[in-house]
Structures are given as C-alpha cells and as structure tokens.
Amino acid sequence: MESIITLKNVSKEFKVLNRHEGIKGGFQDLFSRDYKIIKAVNDISMDIMPGEICGYLGPNGAGKSTTIKMMTGVLEPTSGEILVNGRIPYKNRTENAQNIGVVFGQRSQLWWALPLIESFKLLRDIYQIEEKDFKDMMELYESLVDIKELYSKPVRQMSLGQRTLSDILAAFLHNPGVVFLDEPTIGLDVSMKSKIRDLIKALNHEKKTTVILTTHDMGDVDALCKRIVIIDKGIMLYDNSIENLRSFFGAYRTLRLRFAKDASQLTKEALKKQAAELAGDLKNVYPQAKSIGVSAGEEWVDVLLNEDEIALMKVLNHIQETRRIYDVQLKEISTESVIKKIYDKEIE
C-alpha cells in the first residue's frame, strides 16, 4: 500500500535570540545579534499508511506540534521532505488544507459568535462539499453523538467539551484523507474524554480516515492507537506498535501495595514517605535489580520491577517480612509507565 504521509529526514530549526537578564540586558537585546539555533525537530522519518490511527507522543516541548505544523503546511521544514496526500504541504498550503482536517485542542476553527449549525454550513460552502455528502455526514454525526441539541447553540456559550466535540466533527466534515488531532482531550472530564475517543474511533472506522493524534493522555493511546511514534527533544525514540512496546517490557510487573488499613485516610505525603522508605530498603537488599522503581499512586504504593532481574515473589516475601501488608494487587505494566520509562531514557 502507498503511504499517505511520508516524512524523510525532516528537521526544523528555529533561530532564537539569546536573551539577557534584567533591564540592562533588555537594552542589550535590542541591538543584539547573538542568536542560537534550536533544533525543534531533528532528522525524523516515518511513513503513515491510509486508515491508521497513529499516536504521536512525547513530553512537553518534544517537537510534536512543530511536526504537526510542518505536516499541515504552516511551517516549512529546514531540511528533509514531507509528502501528505502526495503533496508538499508548505508549497501548496491551501490545496493541502482542502484534504486535511485539523483540531488543535486549545484553539477553535468554529465561528465563535454563531450557532454551531451556521459554522457547519459555512464549512460546507468553503470546502465545497456536495449537498448529498454533507447530509450523509450530518446523519452519521447524529447517529454517533447527540449533536442535534447543540446546533442552535453559539460556540461561545459551549462548554470546552462540547466545543472540542464540535471541532472534531468540523474537522471530519469534508471527509479529508488525514485528520490531525493535537491534544484533543486536553482539559476534558472523564466521560467527555471517552465520548470523544469513541467518536474518533467510529469516524476512523466509517470513513477510513487516517488520524494523527498527539496527546499526553495514555487513556487516549490505549483506546485509539495501534501504532505509536515517540519523540523527545526533536529526536525519534520509538516507532512501532503498542503491543511490541508492551512485549518488550513483558518481564515488567507492577506490584501494588497498601500498608494501612484505611488507605483513603492517608495523605499524599504519607504515601510518598512510605514509597521512599520502601525504595531505599529494596535498593539495599537487591542491588542487582537496577530497574526497580517505587512510586506513590492513588492510595497505593506501586513497585515496578523486571522479572528478568529479580523474581516478583522474592520481593513480595521480603516486603511482607519487613512490614504489614493490608492489600496487594499485581498488574501488567501500563502503557503509561512504559512511556514514562522511555521519556526518562531508562532504556536504550
């Protein structure tokens, strides 16, 4: 199959003025030619196939949005090649825009003062959507979410969740080949998040739309993506399926423990203290287990360990000998902790 998005050795550099401190420094800056080059994206290559939902992950400032902006044609790469729908995005920005949809979680493309249905009709006209296709799409939307009741509501009066939902629908309206979703679930409550995930999944399924999703919410990733690409400081760290990632960490287990009868009474500080004590203890006893990690979760103390280094039962035995355990759970490693490990550069 032909790929729908191709990135080949793409880099993006920004020239930034070296700022000085204070008022005196501010005056210096007015005449300064002291620039430094920041590599926001460094030599990234990937191919995205039609119909994929690809998670594009990385910590804040990793270069995710910069990559998205290059793929949409807003930014021009410093070097390398990008093709989206067979076009070079920054050279044909407006034509490219006809065939992509974009949602930026914190910005809206809807007409703020107007009822939602006016925005949709307007998009129908400016994307030159056939009346029949438009009707079909609206019917599909109405079957997926309760959008009808929002039609007459001006966008400025909508809640963030309603607005995001509407923005996603607007991005799919002209049935584009690719939709870019830049942190679509940011700031939303749990039920809205799941609503939006279901919607994205359904639209991807119905229309075979390729979706590029950036997010910090591992729930989004688990619910939607089969493939993930991880970048940090502009460099690509990982590009493969989630299963592969999980199997890579197959020997990792999370042991969840409670050391108090009523854990809900414990403060965060107390939990943290427990975790820190346990971490020190385990480090002394099992110096060979390098990847062992202890963290304080919601009412639980989590111990993450690699069974290739140390048997889980051994650790549990040791803990039980030294302190009273009220409750225990055993879990597979979560996507969240895997990705955290990658961000923290704990694995090569």
Binding site: L75, T94, F104
Partner: protein, 269 residues
C-alpha cells in the same frame, strides 16, 4: 464556478450574521459617535467664530459639518480592526487556524470582514446620510453622485483593509501590535481627511497628501458625494486613482505577507 461564487457569498453572509449578533455593540458605537459629533460641532463652531470670514479654505461651517459627520459615519462603517485581530491571533498562535482554511488568508479575511461593512453601511451610514440630508435640506445631490459614492466606498474599504493588513503583518516580526497600530491609526485618520477636511491642510502638506494612498480611503468617497462641481470625467479619474492605490498597496501587502508567513514561528504548543 457556481460553487466558487457560493464559497465567497457564504463568507459575506457570515460576516453579516456575526455583526448582527452584537446588538449592544451597535448601540455603543452609535452612542460613541454622537459624543464625537457633539465635540466636533463645538470645536468647529469655535474655529469658524474666530475666522474673519464665513468661508474658510473654501468651505462654510455647514460644508465642514456635512463633511465631518459623513466622514465619521464612513469611518465607523469602514473600520475593520484587522490589525488588532491579526496581532492578537499572531500573538496567541491562533493564526494557525486561519492559515489552514482551504482558501488564501487575504481572500478569506477580506470577504468575512466585508460582511461586517455591509451591516454597518445599512445600520449606521445610511441613517446618518438621511439625517444629514433632512437637516441640511439637501446638503448633497441625490443623483448619479450616489453611485460614485457607493463604488468609492467599496474600493476604499478594500484599500483600507490592505493598509491594515500590511501593518498587521508587521506583528509577525514584533509580536506586539499596540504601538504600531496606534501610529497607523493616527496617520490614516489625519492623512485620509477623516478628522480634518483636507482643504484645511497647509498647501505643501495637501500636495504631499494627494500623492499618498490614505486620502483615497475617506476623502475620495466624500468628495464624490458632496462636491457637485466635479465633472463625470474627473469623478471617473478619482475612482481610477483609488483603484490604482488599491492595487499597489494590495500587491505590496500580499508580497509582504507571503515573505513573512514563511519565516513565522507559530506561538504556543
């Protein structure tokens, strides 16, 4: 082709719809305008009272008032706040949404904003003209000059847009718009003849002003409406001049925008 036309008309329509959403805004505009008119009435009354003759620089008090009242109505109609809007959206990074519309940024903006202008023309310019006409008992002719006036407003609106747009583009470099925009407003209001009729300018300045694009925004339409002594030929010439400036400023603004948009760093996440 039909679709293209609909694409453009729909944007005009949305501008009209948007403007009508803000009823209170229209009322405050009207109120602000009335206060402004009271001030200029007394100001110019004092100026004419201090003058030795009834006619100053070829204009009577009544001529001046007709000119200034219509100029202010025209200003409220044609003012678009493009610069503020662009500056704000560049600063917040929201400009990225505008850049991803499936049509050119300039075309998109000009069309959406023209909708607002149409609403203002109907709600503020037309009533003002009617009132002026009734009070002065025919302060301007009701003839083909109205056609020239209408055409000149349309061209002037686009010219005004391009000037605003040029200044807005500067924001890509400065990331701040306040100072530049204030400067632009002062220059445009003064040199376009919107705050003082050009006839009151010193002769050298008048000459300079006629070689600048600003007077084509407000002075040209107003002259075409009020000045009965103009021949049809010179009226067409004035429209031509307006068109000339619109094309020149439009090309410069467009080129400037194209260059600037290539080197942008879109703000925020």
């Amino acid at each position: 082709m039909k679709k293209k036309v609909r694409k453009y008309l729909t944007l005009l329509r949305v501008g009209i719809l948007e403007e009508m959403q803000f009823r209170l805004g229209a009322v405050t505009k009207l109120f602000g305008n009335i206060i402004y008119l009271i001030i200029i009435y007394f100001l110019w009354k004092a100026i004419f009272a201090g003058a030795p003759t009834e006619v100053v620089n070829g204009m009577t008090f009544e001529d001046t008032m007709i000119y200034l009242v219509l100029a202010s109505a025209l200003f409220y109609t044609m003012e678009m706040y493009v610069t503020w809007d662009m500056g704000r959206r560049i600063k917040s990074g929201d400009i990225v949404v505008d850049l991803l519309r499936p049509m050119g940024y300039i075309k998109f903006q000009v069309l959406s904003l023209s909708g607002n202008t149409i609403v203002s023309a109907v709600t503020s310019l037309l009533p003002t003209m009617l009132i002026v006409y009734l009070i002065t008992g025919g302060g301007f002719a009701l003839s083909y000059n109205l056609l020239f006036f209408a055409a000149a407003i349309m061209i002037g609106t686009v010219l005004n847009y391009f000037i605003n747009f040029f200044v807005g583009t500067i924001c890509f470099y400065t990331e701040s718009i306040w100072g530049i925009n204030i400067m632009k407003e002062v220059i445009v209001l003064l040199l376009s003849g919107a705050s003082i009729p050009l006839a009151f300018f010193p002769e050298t300045l008048q000459k300079v002003v006629y070689y600048l694009p600003f007077q084509a925004i407000y002075n040209t339409p107003l002259k075409l409406l009020i000045d009965n002594s103009l021949s049809v030929q010179s009226r067409i010439g004035m429209l031509g001049g307006q068109l000339f400036w619109t094309v020149v400023v439009g090309c410069i603004s467009y080129a400037f925008f194209r260059i600037s948009v290539r080197r942008i760093t879109v703000n925020g996440g």
